[in-house]
């Protein structure tokens, strides 16, 4: 396959791209070449320059230096509008859709089809139907976008890109919020686009996906392109090593701690359609992997335990004693904490500094007569900066400007200071680069070594298998199975439980 591409003329070539932001050299002579009908994976740790490079191609950022050639012709891309005219479309992780407009209206936003100067719904509807048909997704063009699933919204974005006649499609973490079936659907669409000669730049942290669909892989590190090779020449290990620039001994540094008595137990928890009669427990010194398909109720269960949502029935026990948890405040007092999946929306107040975020649940202890003793707060935070090796310009750096891994660490620091010993991680490594992931795993080891109990919610099966002591799988709001010997479990076993096939005795009842 690689040979074919090298014989054809590249559709796009980027060379020597330089970009400096105040204080950061984001791109140092980065390059990327793209052949017609190729799926080109762009890999690298966070901060390696992937998104800056993509934005350069999309016209969202003007590079300081470098050449972009489209079909051999040198071009300058000054704005997203120009990129669109040149046949480049980008689907960002956060979609650019107007929630109250219909799928059709969103597709043709800015390029409305008209008849005698008036909007022509018929034309638009016909075209939208044709696009959805081509993508093999039976969507109603008249559905408001806010009523579509994430996958549906993504389809609208892709349809929008195709409607502009895009020849190059850039997808930034397109599978981040999709369920397994939806991912399969997307891969079908990608295969179809490929057959139509559309080139795709595919950014993702998920290794399995990359090896399934990518033709070639470009690895970036520190703003430079480390290399481009056919995907078949990489192994999982060699790819990670190329990304981090050093050898990794073990992707999952699991260390077993001594497992003690039940720390937290929930009995017959219920909330509407989301959680139907769930019982489970986690013990001291244990990492409990909680997995299942997106929408199976994992996050909802965590929110019930943490008091973020109200439960309709059921009991929560701590050390065997029933406790009343009606709000996150109650849960925090009982030593439970939640590191939510969406750190920016739920974990941090982005406008406040790292120190202020750290202090938020702990101010009762940091203050006297309502007055915050900032010295006490700062010195406590300074200890965690060192212990968790949080990398920041200073404790006053705004949370907004921290990298994903460091944001996660600030959230963890805040909960450790709050004396939490039941720690619920919801997708702890999502959007975090390989090096930082490894650090998070080491931290989990340290926490269980200190007799804390961890519930780790994750969709990444290798991570679940690699780090858990015990695994609980959810399916449609119920626990569909438990695997007590995580060390010898397989992905197949988990997937069977996740889709509701009962091959293993269930834990509840």
């Amino acid at each position: 396959m690689a040979l074919i591409f090298e014989q054809a003329a590249p559709v796009a070539v980027m060379e020597g791209i330089e970009k400096t932001f105040p204080g950061v050299r984001a791109l140092k002579g980065a390059r990327l070449s793209l052949y017609p009908g190729e799926v080109h994976a762009l890999m690298g740790e966070n901060g390696a320059g992937k998104s800056t490079l993509i934005k350069t191609l999309a016209g969202a950022i003007t590079p300081d230096a470098g050449i972009i050639r489209l079909e051999g012709r040198e071009v300058t891309i000054e704005s997203p509008k120009e990129a669109q005219q040149l046949g480049i479309a980008v689907i960002y992780q956060e979609f650019n859709l107007v929630p109250y407009l219909t799928a059709r209206e969103n597709i043709f936003l800015g390029q409305e089809r008209t008849k005698l100067g008036f909007l022509s719904r018929q034309k638009e509807r016909r075209e939208a139907r044709a696009l959805f048909e081509r993508l093999g997704v039976p969507l109603d063009p008249e559905t408001q976008c806010r009523n579509l699933t994430i996958a549906g919204q993504q389809t609208v974005e892709i349809a929008k890109a195709l409607s502009t006649g895009a020849r190059i499609l850039v997808m930034d973490e397109p599978t981040a919020s999709l369920s397994a079936q939806e991912v399969e659907k997307l891969f079908d669409v990608i295969a179809d686009l490929k057959a139509h000669g559309i080139s795709m730049v595919y950014v993702s942290h998920r290794m399995e996906e990359i090896f399934r669909i990518a033709d070639r892989i470009t690895v970036m590190r520190d703003g430079e392109t480390v290399g481009t090779r056919p995907a078949s020449e990489f192994t999982r290990e060699s790819l990670i090593e190329m990304m981090v620039g050093r050898k990794l001994e073990n992707e999952f540094p699991k260390e077993r701690a001594e497992i003690g008595e039940k720390r937290l137990e929930v009995i017959r928890l219920r909330r509407g359609d989301q959680i139907k009669d769930v019982s489970m427990f986690v013990r001291r010194g244990e990492i409990l992997g909680l997995t299942g398909l997106v929408g199976s109720g994992r996050t909802e269960l965590a929110r019930l335990i943490f008091g973020a949502d109200a439960r309709e029935a059921g009991e929560i026990r701590i050390e065997g004693k029933p406790v009343s948890i009606r709000s996150p405040r109650d849960a925090i007092r009982k030593g439970i904490c939640l590191l939510s999946e969406d750190r920016k929306a739920e974990g941090l107040v982005l406008g406040l500094s790292a120190r202020e975020n750290f202090g938020l649940p702990n101010l009762d202890r940091f203050s006297e007569f309502g007055l915050v003793r900032q010295k006490t707060e700062s010195s406590a935070f300074a200890r965690y900066i060192k212990e968790l090796s949080i990398k920041l310009a200073g404790p006053e750096q705004r949370a907004r400007t921290l990298s994903g891994g460091n944001q996660q660490k600030v959230v963890l620091a805040k909960w450790l200071e709050a004396n939490s010993d039941v720690i619920i991680f919801d997708e702890p490594t999502r959007g975090i680069d390989v090096g930082a992931k490894y650090e998070i795993y080491l931290l989990m080891n340290r926490l269980v070594a200190q007799r804390k109990a961890i519930i780790m919610i994750s969709s990444e099966l290798p991570e679940v298998l690699g780090m858990s002591d015990r695994i609980v799988v959810m399916h449609e709001g119920r626990i569909s199975g438990e695997i007590t010997d995580a060390a010898n479990a397989t992905q197949k076993q988990i997937m069977a439980l996740a889709v509701g096939v009962k091959s293993v005795p269930a834990a509840h009842g």
């Binding site: 996150p328 900032q374 965690y384």
Partner: protein
């Protein structure tokens, strides 16, 4: 994994106090933290520059010749006589029958005597008295060598003197006139403060509400409600004969009622997730209507003279008491927002309400608090206004909520919440006050004033946004 590698138990370091690496870290970040502080200061209080610019502008355009009168004139004349004439000088002090001239004459006599200069007489009266006095001096053996008077009387004095030959050698000394901006005169500066004090007080609560991501449109009406309640209660408890205690009780009742109205808006917002704009819009109409109902649409004047103590009285360095109160409130609010738990929670709720809730912040309590404070500040504003005007009327406070919002926004508070500084709001309120006062001094028509004020607000905020973008 050994225990040494594990994070220290959360309270270990707390007992030890500062960790040893603390000093090292400090040293390293110090220069950058100074720069950080400076850049934070200018981004937080950049509007200070706009305020200073306005002050300089209005000072320059209001410079005018100043003719001293009263005690100030006496100082100037005493200096001139001491410098310009020898020890043997004999001075006659002359003035017209007015309090100012009387003050001038007595003060000058004291000053001259203190300098060992002979004062032969002091005439304060009608031109006829002055002519008689001059004639008497002319007949005396040793006539006066200097006649001291103010500039306003100079023409009249010269006129009378020219008709009396014996006084031909006598000089007339008047105070030196000088150029000084009317804007910067202390009485005018106090004027600015007095004009802005009510808006500045309600803007404290407004800023807190806006920082939580809300808005409070009811404060203007609450000013009217508070003034009417205060007035009515005082009128019922003795009217113009009401005791201090009665006045205090009336004011306190009004402030508390407004606080309860604020809590009610807060409950709508926090409990039922009603948009603050709508909740407080409703309360704005309700409060205004109730103010008209209570007062029957009339102004209430049965208020004792003593009630103006707060609004017009001075107890400290001739600064009006209301202004002292305003400064006090801003100090408290600044400490609350920057140093206290409550302040941190207010910023957190506005910055990201879900993250705040999941961090254990009692969001409902915080929202109730800010709306309650906003109501109480409006109540207090109403009491101050009633005290300044010595009456209560349901027409008070019209559009004040919008001026308070303008002050907060000028001061750098973001309407989307999570950002803002109380001191910035004070600067914003002062900008509004300075513009209004400056235009009054330069004789700009009041309709034009509105246009200019609106444009200045737009311009200043635009400038600020452009500066922040850099």
């Amino acid at each position: 994994m050994t225990k040494e590698n594990a994070p220290a138990p959360p309270d270990a370091g707390r007992r030890e106090g500062k960790a040893p690496q603390e000093g090292l870290r400090r040293e390293k970040t110090d220069p950058s933290s100074v720069r950080l502080f400076a850049s934070r200061f200018f981004s937080d209080y950049g509007m200070l520059a706009v305020l200073l610019l306005l002050i300089v502008f209005f000072s320059l355009v209001t410079i005018e010749k100043r003719r001293p009168v009263g005690a100030e004139a006496a100082e100037s004349v005493a200096g001139r006589i001491a410098r310009g004439f020898g020890q043997g000088v004999r001075v006659l002090i002359v003035g017209r029958a007015s309090a100012q001239d009387m003050a001038f004459a007595t003060q000058l006599e004291d000053l001259l005597k203190a300098k060992g200069i002979e004062v032969v007489g002091r005439v304060v009266g009608e031109p006829r008295d002055i002519r008689l006095a001059f004639e008497r001096q002319a007949q005396a053996g040793a006539p006066v060598t200097v006649i001291a008077t103010t500039e306003r009387n100079a023409w009249m004095v010269n006129n009378i003197k020219s008709r009396i030959g014996a006084l031909a050698q006598t000089s007339v000394v008047i105070p030196e006139s000088y150029r000084w901006p009317v804007f910067l005169r202390s009485d005018n500066l106090i004027n600015v403060a007095n004009q802005i004090v009510v808006i500045a007080i309600i803007a404290i609560g407004m800023t807190m509400v806006i920082i939580t991501g809300g808005i409070d449109l009811s404060v203007g009406s609450l000013i009217a409600l508070s003034a009417v309640i205060t007035g009515t209660l005082i009128a019922r408890m003795g009217g113009t004969e009401a005791s201090t205690l009665a006045m205090l009780a009336a004011a306190l009742a009004a402030i508390l009622i407004c606080g309860v109205v604020g809590l009610f808006s807060g409950a709508m917002v926090a409990g039922f997730r009603m948009p603050p704009f709508i909740a407080t819009l409703g309360m704005m109409l309700v409060a205004s209507g109730v103010a008209y109902l209570i007062s029957g649409g009339e102004s209430i004047y049965q208020i004792p003279e003593g009630f103006v103590w707060l609004g017009r009285g001075t107890a400290f360095l001739s600064i009006p008491n209301a202004v002292v109160l305003m400064i006090l409130l801003y100090t408290i609010a600044h400490v609350l927002m920057s140093r206290m738990k409550l302040g941190r929670y207010i910023y957190a709720v506005g910055g990201n309400v879900e993250a705040a809730r999941l961090s254990g912040v009692n969001v409902v309590a915080i929202l109730l608090f800010v709306f309650g404070i906003s109501g109480m500040m409006a109540g207090l504003g109403g009491v101050v206004l009633a005290s300044q005007l010595k009456s209560g009327a349901p027409t008070y406070g019209l559009l004040y909520e919008l001026y308070a919002i303008a002050a907060a926004v000028l001061g750098g508070t973001s309407l989307s919440g999570g950002q803002g500084k109380v001191i910035g709001t004070l600067i914003g309120a002062l900008i509004i006050g300075v513009i209004q006062n400056g235009m009054n001094l330069t004789g700009v028509q009041s309709y034009t004033q509105k246009v200019v004020l609106g444009l200045v607000i737009l311009g200043a905020v635009l400038l600020d946004m452009l500066r922040r973008k850099e």
